[in-house]
């Protein structure tokens, strides 16, 4: 479904602040696979997701969806295949617009109709049904401003929004990191439901080793702009959080400790 061939991204090329954020990523993800992505800060996880989404242009390498070369496609054009949820709950929704307007925007992804009214009773009904899955009572507040909701509520709605249109790829960048543990668990729950329902191909970046092992069927670890480890199947099922931390230690030749073990072990 997704194939990265030697993807490279360099920020500020030629300047003193030059940063090679991706240094030749090779990754092949079959249809319907759920991959969790871990790695220390600055490893290039977000850059990889942003490059797949088209927000960032690769400086070398090629990217394929379903054997279609999409390297030159704009971010907007790629949204026919790609849906995403950001880490910052404020980033994925418009705070000044109502819940139903936000959902209508997401509903328009991939087939912008132009001068037809964006909302109608049929859509409102669909949105109410979807929102009632969250059990947050939002189905009765369709015309409330998004900005009035809590971070967890906004993130939950973002997740529903990402699934309103059929897409094939879902990109999640630490989408539970800003939430309290209870809300994070709820959001992960809905994530799993949606992924299973829509048979999506998923890349989920997470800071939590537990989450990385408990969800999906394959885990990759990024380090300095490359895929340092790629775990799946039998091998992965025998891995625990401790083993992952050992892996982290191995790929750091200087033996530097992780910045924050608590963060990595949490939830």
């Amino acid at each position: 479904m997704i194939r990265c061939e030697h993807l490279k991204v360099t920020f500020n090329a030629g300047l003193a602040t030059e940063k090679r954020a991706l240094r030749g990523v090779n990754l092949s993800i079959p249809q319907g696979e759920f991959i969790t992505v871990i790695g220390s800060n600055g490893a290039g996880k977000s850059t990889l997701l942003n490059t797949i989404a088209g927000d960032i242009r690769s400086s070398a390498g090629r990217l394929y969806f379903d054997d279609r070369d999409v390297t030159a496609l704009s971010a907007a054009a790629r949204t026919r295949d790609v849906a995403r949820v950001f880490q910052d709950p404020l980033a994925g929704t418009c705070g000044d617009m109502t819940i139903e307007e936000n959902m209508a925007l997401a509903y328009g992804r991939g087939n912008r109709g132009g001068l037809r009214l964006a909302l109608n009773e049929r859509l409102r009904q669909l949105f109410r049904e979807q929102l009632s899955r969250l059990n947050l009572g939002l189905e009765d507040r369709l015309d409330a401003k998004m900005g009035l909701l809590s971070g967890g509520q906004r993130q939950s709605v973002s997740l529903l929004m990402s699934a309103l249109q059929p897409s094939k790829i879902l990109l999640l960048d630490e989408h539970t990191a800003a939430l309290d543990p209870k809300t994070a668990a709820l959001v992960m729950d809905i994530t799993d439901q949606i992924v299973a329902e829509k048979k999506l191909t998923v890349l989920m970046v997470t800071h939590s080793m537990r989450q990385a092992l408990d969800h999906g069927s394959r885990t990759i670890m990024m380090h300095e702009g490359q895929v340092a480890f790629d775990l799946s199947g039998e091998e992965r099922s025998q891995y625990g959080v401790k083993d992952l931390l050992n892996l982290f230690a191995q790929i750091r030749p200087d033996g530097e400790e992780l910045d924050d073990d608590k963060l990595l072990l949490g939830t």
């Binding site: 989404a53 927000d55 704009s74 971010a75 907007a76 054009a77 949204t79 026919r80 849906a83 995403r84 950001f86 980033a91 994925g92 929704t93 418009c94 705070g95 000044d96 617009m97 109502t98 307007e101 209508a104 925007l105 997401a106 328009g108 992804r109 991939g110 912008r112 109709g113 132009g114 001068l115 037809r116 009214l117 964006a118 909302l119 015309d143 401003k145 929004m161």
Partner: protein, 301 residues
Amino acid sequence: MSLFSFLGTLEIGFIFGLVAVGVYLTFRVLDFPDLTVDGSFTLGAALAAALILAGVNPYLATLCAMFGGAVAGLLTAWLNLRFNILHLLASILTMTALYTINLRVMGKPNLALIAEPTVLSPFESLGIPNMYMKVIFVAAVVIAVGLLLAWFLNTQYGMAMRATGANPRMAQANGIVINEKIYAGLALSNGLVALAGALFAQTNGFADSTMGIGTIVVGLAAVIVGESLLNSRSMLVIVFSCILGSLLYRLAVSVALNADFIGFTTSDLNLITAVLVGLALILPHFRREWKARKAAQGGAA
């Protein structure tokens, strides 16, 4: 205030309602502070007057004026999007260029429309006194534009435009081509402002190269007055609050100018407007500070 001057105030209030919704589109919907309007208002008046004097049908002339305004908006958007020139600066460049272009369009600093046909001519034979007819005509045009615009902002395209201004990253992640929305929004906004200019020239019988000065501030004043009166999420209410804001602003100004004991003259208008807009921008700031201080005291107690 006499009935005559009251009707004149309404007429100008309605015409500047178009400027207000144009300014609302750029400043609020797209979050793109656009000063092009000072130039595109005059451009609309200049094009309409020059074309009518050249014998063009006034309706066609008005359409051309709107088109000219839209092109001015596109130019500002292009400078900003293509070359990364700060939006304010890009719009100041267009506005400055337009000053010369407007003089060229008119051929001299001002044009008078006296006996020439205007968009109002077909209604002059209806038997309604001219001063009422003019107000009814501009009110009808402005209300129709307001209804269309409110509908537009609720369409898929219009909502995409609102998302572009509110959260471009989110808009893009939902497949919205944001640059296209900015081009379209600036063209629409300046097209409406040019329509205001064209109507002004035809109802008042002249176009002048300096008539656009301060248009942006008047438009902003109307938007702010409207916003402070009606706080709603409904596009219909928001669009009409801009128009209402424009009417109230004009009435307030007209009362101030008519109150002899204050001694304001027309030439004081720009200062009064700037002070009003300044106050409207400063007050919410103070209110926030005041609330924050109160909250801090409450927390400490």
